[in-house]
């Protein structure tokens, strides 16, 4: 984990509200593992002080990129920044995905919207290709499909409005695939919490292991403030664990979706 002042190399609209940001961040780029994130200080935000967490999308040599959606103050300011501008970057942070082994289970990736960003390094570093199930509300929410295909992975897209791929939820073709054959599969998921919860239930039904990247609000990103906690099973029942430190990737069997009373 380290802190760098990094330079923006490119910051361009990908599609709709999604942008691709490329940074010159040699130290972080060199160390990052699939599923880890960077905590970005957007300096021109002025009175909004906190950093924003983003998954590392791609890392090559000294460069690192992020795929982000404009959803609020920080991401709006970020989308107006240009090549040459500087950002504060803290990373790589968190506990990421387990990279599949060539002899191990077949990886099935499940991504919703910008959740695709957390998946690329995993697909790239996996010695065996698998299938990416990607879902979104509309066609514009299906990101970087070609880049996954270029890695030799199958991509199965779904949109809720049917404007692209299958019509419906991303979990539907996943269930179809698991019904066909659930043996020696491992799920990896990143997306909105309801999607993650659905994936956890499916993993349970079919008795396949699943790793989920949880999306929680963060403040420090390094484990000190205790903002980002989720209830997780433990030896004495349950405990709060930190999404920024013990996560963002958790074993689906350990996540409790509600705080026990």
């Amino acid at each position: 984990m380290l802190e760098e002042l990094v330079q923006i190399l490119a910051n361009e609209r990908e599609v709709g509200a999604y942008f691709r940001l490329t940074l010159l961040a040699p130290e972080i780029a060199r160390r990052v593992q699939p599923g880890q994130f960077v905590h970005i200080r957007i300096l021109p935000m002025r009175d909004a002080l906190l950093r924003r967490p983003f998954s590392v999308f791609q890392a090559a040599g000294d460069n690192l990129s992020i795929l982000y959606k404009v959803v609020g103050k920080g991401t709006a300011v970020l989308s107006r920044m240009q090549a040459g501008d500087q950002l504060g970057a803290l990373g790589p942070l968190g506990h990421g995905f387990t990279v599949p082994k060539s002899s191990g289970e077949k990886p099935l990736l499940v991504a919703g919207g910008y959740g695709m960003a957390a998946m690329y390094l995993l697909a790239q570093r996996s010695p065996r290709p698998g299938v990416v199930f990607v879902g979104g509300r509309r066609r514009v929410d299906i990101l970087c499909e070609q880049e996954f295909r270029a890695l030799g992975w199958d991509v199965c897209a779904t949109t809720e409005d049917g404007s692209y791929g299958h019509r419906g939820l991303v979990t539907e073709p996943l269930v179809t695939e698991l019904r066909r054959d659930a043996k020696r599969k491992r799920l990896f998921a990143c997306g909105p919490t309801p999607m993650l919860k659905a994936v956890a239930r499916i993993a349970d039904d079919f008795d396949v292991p699943a790793e989920l990247s949880m999306d929680e609000h963060m403040c420090c990103g390094v484990g000190v403030c205790l903002t980002c906690v989720i209830p997780v099973k433990s030896a004495d029942g349950w405990e709060y664990q930190r999404t920024c430190t013990e996560g963002p990737v958790f074993d689906s069997k350990e996540v409790l979706w509600e705080v026990p009373r």
Binding site: M1, L2, E3, R41, D47, A48, L49, L50, R51, G88, L90, E216, H217, C219, C220, V222, G223, V224, C225, L226, T227, C228, V229, I230, E239, Y240, T245, V259
Partner: protein, 304 residues
């Protein structure tokens, strides 16, 4: 040039520590900065047993600051000693342990437990947490209870005691004096300010706890005034805090009457802040020809 200050029997090599709850137990930041450069490390609040804390969302960003209602999640005395003390005791700078309880007896018991631990720098009594139902703020907003807590802890330990006051009082002077008279060696001013924010889309409060504590640069002018008033009321030293982002902010606290300062919320967005503050105080002193940092303390000129 002398940067060292004395907080009761606690010697700090420079007047800058970190605020409880914004720096974990030190170890989390050890890879990002050299903790031994600090004046002291102050750890997250600890009570007798482990505490799970409040439901989420626990923090929310607001203009120039944030709200928090963490609910004092922590490992308890034994968990702290097992998990974090082995690291902290090896530091060359002192550790200030922030403690709390729900009764006077509990405060004293925690103080007694840490008195028995070799190498603790000082105890900071949190009598001002706004985010728990019992304990915390109730002790900090009732002069009689405050005296009882401080006196009980005084009997329980020889360690330097720092009483951390609540900003949520009409006048801080009587609380400052009550803590001093009950045997506190120093004061910490201030804790977070009770506050609230609402998400207008959902009509829900932004914190699950509904209300929380406001911290960050937006509270600095309030904290400066509290330090200035407390400093006039007592002879014991004060650790000033509230919204410090740079050396200028820290020097303001010193001039208002604080003998040392703590960096809090700024750690979350800029982990190097405390070290930058130390470097900045040094260059301010060079520029002004000040040889001893203690010359700055209370040097505000109020008559013009």
């Amino acid at each position: 040039m002398n940067l060292a200050v004395q907080i009761g029997a606690l010697r700090m090599q420079n007047p800058v520590t970190v605020a409880s709850g914004t720096f974990g137990y030190g170890v989390e930041y050890a890879r990002l900065l050299d903790l031994n450069q600090l004046g002291a490390v102050t750890v997250k609040g600890i009570c007798l047993g482990p505490v799970r804390g409040n439901p989420t969302p626990r923090t929310a960003e607001v203009a120039s600051g944030m709200l928090n209602a963490i609910g004092l999640q922590g490992p308890g005395v034994d968990g702290f000693i097992a998990k974090y003390w082995p690291f902290l005791k090896e530091l060359t700078v002192p550790t200030i342990i922030n403690i709390w309880g729900t009764t006077v007896e509990e405060y004293a018991e925690v103080a007694r437990r840490f008195d028995a631990l070799e190498g603790v720098g000082a105890l900071e009594l949190n009598v001002s947490c706004p985010n728990i139902k019992e304990g915390g703020a109730q002790f900090g907003t009732d002069c009689k209870l405050l005296s009882q807590v401080v006196a009980a802890c005084r009997r329980a330990t020889r360690l330097p005691l720092i009483t951390k006051l609540s900003p949520n009082v009409v006048s801080i002077a009587p609380y400052a004096r009550a803590a001093e008279e009950a045997g506190s060696d120093a004061l910490a001013v201030t804790n977070s300010y009770p506050a609230m924010a609402i998400d207008v889309e959902t009509r829900q409060p932004k914190l699950a706890n509904v209300t929380g504590g406001l911290t960050g640069p937006c509270i600095k002018p309030i904290a400066i005034k509290l330090v200035w008033e407390a400093a006039k009321a007592v002879k014991i030293p004060i650790i000033g805090m509230g919204g410090i982002q740079d050396a200028t902010d820290a020097i303001e606290f010193l001039m208002a009457g604080a003998s040392a300062v703590a960096v809090g919320t700024a750690n979350f967005y800029e982990p190097q802040t405390a070290l930058q503050v130390i470097a900045g105080i040094r260059s301010f002193m060079e520029r002004k020809g000040i040889r001893d940092v203690r010359e700055i303390v209370g040097s505000v000129i109020t008559d013009r």
